[in-house]
């Protein structure tokens, strides 16, 4: 674990895997909830957790890197089920890349339990991990100028669902009617870091 200072009041804690980043995030949330950590933002990402709004970043850096204790593994949370139609325009390309049929892409994806590693790109957009590394897939060579809301997509090691229409370069494999983001709802985001997710196929493939 490395703790890199960021400006005067933030710390970027770097770990060696996505799982460790999720575990560290869970641990930092626990410390904040019990009152032993004062911080404005805790932002998990692929291999890091950013802490922003810290009164004394140097002291926390020393404390985190001195401890040999591995962070507690993420607590089991309720599984959010997202209904999905595997009807995306890039399904055939993904199937070719994986060397399987389109139906098999849907089966593999729906059989996977995902968890939200981190959020970004747009409010409510979660980077979901869970697929084995040999299913990593490059982004499209040419991004689309408009990806519809509810598009279920793949890029690199991640699955994501577009909360609203936006440009995007991910490979689109399906569609969900689930509302990923609604700022009038509490909580506004259906998915937040640590949420477990399953895609449940609906309709005929």
């Amino acid at each position: 674990m490395r703790a890199l200072p960021v400006g005067d009041e933030a710390l970027l804690v770097e770990v060696s895997s996505g799982e460790e980043a999720q575990a560290l995030h869970t641990e930092l949330l626990r410390r904040r909830a019990e009152g032993s950590l004062s911080v404005r933002e805790i932002v998990p990402a692929a291999r890091t957790v950013l802490l922003d709004g810290l009164p004394d970043p140097a002291r926390l850096a020393a404390e985190l890197t001195a401890s040999d204790e591995p962070p507690t593994p993420p607590r089991a949370r309720e599984v959010v089920e997202l209904p999905v139609r595997y009807d995306g325009p890039d399904l055939a390309d993904v199937a070719a890349h994986w060397g399987v049929s389109a139906q098999e892409v849907a089966r593999i994806h729906a059989d996977t339990e995902f968890s939200v590693a981190f959020c970004g790109f747009a409010p409510g957009f979660g980077y979901l991990t869970g697929l084995p590394p040999h299913y990593d897939i490059p982004r499209r060579a040419t991004p689309r100028t408009a990806v519809p809301a509810g598009a279920v997509a793949l890029a690199g090691p991640y699955t994501g669902v577009y909360p609203r229409s936006s440009p995007g370069g991910w490979q689109l494999i399906g569609t969900t009617d689930a509302v990923l983001w609604d700022h009038t709802r509490v909580p506004a985001a259906l998915l937040s870091p640590g949420t477990r997710v399953r895609f449940v196929p609906v309709g005929s493939p």
Partner: protein, 289 residues
């Protein structure tokens, strides 16, 4: 609608509603947003008797024109500009009485970029996640002002300040940004890290509320590999593949995949909000506090 409202007569190039921002939601991908020139926004709120968290209007270069439906006190600060009520010039940087139905014109910036319009009672659009700020990156909060739009106002809180004119910093002729290096300065060649603080840059016209883009020597990477996405802070100086540093401002994305060579001191960012395209920018490395 009550009569406590502003009708937008001329929205200007880009006028948005801003307050202290939408903090505490970065982990959901929600930008912080908020007034780019925070001290100017705070000052106009103080001048009209508002609490610091009241929402104000932030204009961009060309000002705006509004018509309050009831008598209000307003104050305009930030970028200096001509202010007029029903065509008569009134004070900039001081509380001004605007009668019901009168036309308040906030002129184009004489220098600087963003003027702030504080109105007694504050702009009272519905808050989203605790803030009334317009966030241009993700579209949260009220849309930018359009001609004919109507903005509700809150009840006036306190009597306005008794000042003739409040001193405000002039927009910068040269923008000096103090930076602390890191967290990813080691992703750049040592020559590039030196060039970053030794050579002047210029403010690019492509700058916006998301980032202050710069023109100048391209910084070269020592590590060509891809950086996995990581959280970024306000003031982070991110270097995209073209090698030109971008200083992240209030509407910046919460995570990013390009290395951050340094972070600008928060105290220097309000001046960045007022630097017109072409302004010389110097990044000066300082130690951590």
């Amino acid at each position: 609608m009550t009569d406590r409202a502003l009708s937008v007569v001329r929205a200007g190039a880009l006028t948005t509603v801003q307050d202290l921002g939408r903090l505490g939601h970065a982990h959901l991908g929600v930008p912080r947003s908020g007034a780019l020139d925070g001290p100017a926004a705070a000052l106009v709120n103080r001048l009209v008797g508002n609490a610091p968290e009241a929402a104000v209007l932030e204009t961009t270069l060309s000002g705006c024109t509004v018509r309050p439906r009831s008598a209000v006190t307003v104050a305009v600060g930030g970028a200096p500009c001509q202010v007029a009520v029903d065509g008569r010039p009134v004070a900039w940087g001081a509380p001004v009485h605007v009668p019901a139905g009168a036309l308040l014109d906030v002129g184009a910036a004489i220098s600087g970029v963003r003027s702030y319009v504080g109105v007694s009672g504050g702009v009272a659009v519905d808050p989203v996640l605790g803030s009334r700020s317009t966030d241009l990156l993700s579209g949260l909060g009220p849309p930018p002002l359009t001609d004919g739009a109507v903005l509700p106002l809150g009840p006036p809180a306190r009597p306005h300040a008794r000042v003739d004119v409040a001193p405000q910093p002039a927009p910068p002729a040269e923008l000096v940004l103090r930076v602390t290096l890191g967290p990813r300065d080691d992703w750049f060649t040592p020559q590039s890290v030196r060039a970053f603080t030794a050579h002047p840059y210029r403010v690019s016209p492509a700058s916006n509320r998301i980032g202050l883009r710069t023109e100048g020597p391209a910084l070269e990477r020592a590590l060509p590999r891809e950086l996995p996405s990581e959280g970024v802070v306000l003031g982070a100086v991110q270097v995209p593949p073209d090698g030109r540093p971008v200083v992240f401002l209030a509407d910046h994305p919460t995570t990013g995949g390009y290395p951050v060579i340094a972070v600008v001191r928060a105290a220097d960012l309000p001046a960045a909000a007022q630097a017109v395209p072409g302004t010389a920018v110097r990044f000066v490395a300082v130690g951590r506090r």
